[in-house]
């Protein structure tokens, strides 16, 4: 665990304690279960976003991918009676294709990640709305898919399966980032792509892989969101979700300049964001102020982190100087 992760954990506990003192319902099993579900849903694609950010890029299309693939998944299962495991495979396959398209446009055609994924944001949302002719995609009345529902919205011992799925993904990605050669190369490419290339690293492959990981996790999240909301409204489903993901990654210590980040941090970032959402609800703050509260807390958190880091360097310098002056 890095220092930043511990700081974030402390912030989560402090905010939680304050909310609990104002409203003890915060720690009720129902509230914890619901919040855990949301953490799982948002954490899934925030981890992918973190990988892209570590390459020094950004993926703005995540929310639209969740809407488009959500619509398609619901239609495949509900309308066209595709067996759900096949529908899941197709959805994830589409995620791979979207990620490949982003990665190839960015590495081969040398377009900026911001531009590529901004166009993705518009295109996927547009296709979702055009395909459904703005109508909501939903499952037929009375239909039920027991295994699929158990996997996505089921719970074991009160723990939502979306949360467990996120923990599994996080554990896998933690190993990938911190303990595989690919993870080393990802950090190298994000910080100094040229140096990475001179060292014989296939930088194009690394970058493309990051976008594929991001889109695949977004496609898995799309399935979970579709099952959670049960119907997908193509113009609003997943709106702004890319920004939640970016916020979670940045809170979790990913540098937008690339090369830095930790999976634990990203998960904690997602936890903090959902805790803040929850805080707005529980403390009776008008939900219209939702974004304002979130923005303010993130800003304060990042500011405090920076000030604290500056304080630490100052203290270390003073200590070093003190040692020098002693004979």
């Amino acid at each position: 665990m890095q220092k930043k992760d511990i700081g974030l954990g402390v912030l989560i506990i402090v905010v939680g304690a304050i909310v609990y003192m104002q409203n003890p319902l915060f720690l009720s099993p129902i509230n914890l279960g619901n919040t855990a579900n949301l953490i799982g849903l948002f954490g899934l694609f925030a981890i992918g976003q973190g990988f892209v950010i570590m390459t020094g890029g950004i993926d703005l299309s995540v929310g639209s991918v969740i809407a488009l693939l959500g619509v398609l998944f619901v239609d495949m299962v509900g309308k066209f009676d595709v067996a759900w495991p096949i529908a899941v495979a197709i959805t994830i396959g589409l995620g791979v294709l979207i990620g490949l398209a982003h990665g190839i446009l960015i590495t081969r055609f040398r377009l900026q990640p911001f531009v590529v994924t901004l166009c993705g944001l518009l295109i996927y949302r547009g296709i979702a709305r055009g395909y459904t002719a703005e109508s909501t995609a939903g499952f037929p009345f009375g239909s039920s898919y027991p295994q699929l529902e158990w996997l996505t919205i089921g719970r074991s011992f009160g723990v939502p399966h979306s949360f467990i799925a996120m923990l599994i993904v996080a554990a896998v990605m933690w190993v990938v980032l911190h303990h595989t050669v690919f993870g080393r190369h990802l950090c190298a490419v994000g910080k100094n792509e040229e140096a990475a290339r001179f060292s014989g690293i296939n930088t194009r492959f690394v970058t493309i892989a990051a976008y594929v990981i991001c889109a695949v996790l977004a496609s898995i999240a799309a399935i979970y969101f579709a099952m959670f909301t049960k119907s997908v409204q193509p113009s609003s489903h997943g709106n702004f979700y890319e920004l939640y993901a970016i916020a979670a990654a940045v809170l979790g210590g990913c540098s937008l300049r690339g090369g830095e980040g930790s999976v634990i941090g990203i998960v904690l970032g997602a936890v903090l964001l959902q805790e803040l959402q929850n805080l707005v609800n529980l403390l009776g703050i008008p939900s219209s102020l939702n974004f304002a509260v979130m923005g303010a807390v993130i800003l304060l958190g990042v500011l405090a982190d920076q000030q604290f880091a500056a304080y630490r360097t100052r203290r270390n310098t003073e200590r070093a100087l003190g040692l020098l002056q002693k004979p």
Partner: protein, 246 residues
């Protein structure tokens, strides 16, 4: 035996003759100072040796065997390493990670291959010790001095069992005190039997470490002589063209 021999290497870019029939032989452990004004063809020569592009004509021999490099990796496999001017290292990684960048050792845990951090740290500590550098494997590179960064870059070359190390302006971006450190590293490489080609504008550095000085002017090799038999004044004359040949 020569570790590297160039025979009549020429390179032209369209109408421009960047290298004109350059011949050069380098012995194991020899330190060669490659000098010349901007645009004299130093970088082109280095890129030809490093396999960035093939010469228009001429032969490259490694240990008396003819070779053809199509890409930098071919040259690397033949034992040629380049330490770039802008230091191809990643600031956000530790010294050990940088030494092993692109060739990380792995060990298996069940079906997955994980990076062997312990081996990386112990091996790079050993390399730094061989270079008599105080660089610590765990330290992040962005907190290091220019000399320590050079040590990291040079440790990379030791790792790959290089025969020849090409250094492009290694003393250009660092402080005077660190220059001594880098020159020391060059001597260490030479003591290990590794030939060093030092491309530099800094006359004193070249004369401090080089066994041999080679001067390029407008793509032509105008001097190839022992440093002890030459002088900075003569080399300056050769670079500017005040002295035709030596």
């Amino acid at each position: 035996m020569n570790v590297l021999e160039l025979k009549n290497i020429s390179k032209r870019y369209g109408a421009i003759q960047a290298l004109d029939s350059v011949s050069l032989a380098i012995a194991p452990g020899e330190v060669v100072g490659l000098m010349g004004d901007n645009g004299a063809g130093k970088s082109t020569l280095v890129k030809v040796i490093a396999g960035n592009f093939a010469p228009t004509s001429g032969d490259i021999l490694i240990s008396d065997k003819k070779v053809a490099f199509n890409k930098p990796l071919d040259a690397q496999k033949a034992g040629i390493e380049v330490v770039y001017q802008d230091l191809a290292i990643c600031n956000n990684l530790s010294a050990a990670s940088n030494v092993f960048l692109g060739r990380e050792p792995t060990r298996r845990i069940g079906p997955i291959k994980v990076v062997d951090y312990a081996f990386m740290r112990s091996k790079s500590a050993e390399l730094f010790a061989r270079l008599k550098s105080e660089t610590r494997p765990r330290d992040l590179v962005h907190k290091m001095s220019g000399g320590q960064r050079q040590a990291v870059a040079i440790a990379r070359t030791l790792l790959s069992d290089a025969k020849i190390v090409l250094m492009d302006e290694p003393t250009a971006a660092i402080s005077v005190r660190q220059v001594a450190e880098v020159l020391n590293l060059i001597r260490q490489l030479s003591d290990h039997g590794i030939a060093v080609v030092l491309i530099s504008h800094r006359m004193p550095d070249v004369f401090e470490v080089a066994d041999k000085v080679v001067v390029l002017r407008r793509g032509e090799l105008v001097a190839d002589k022992k440093a002890s038999q030459s002088s900075p004044e003569e080399i300056t004359g050769l670079i500017t063209g005040a002295i035709e040949h030596a």
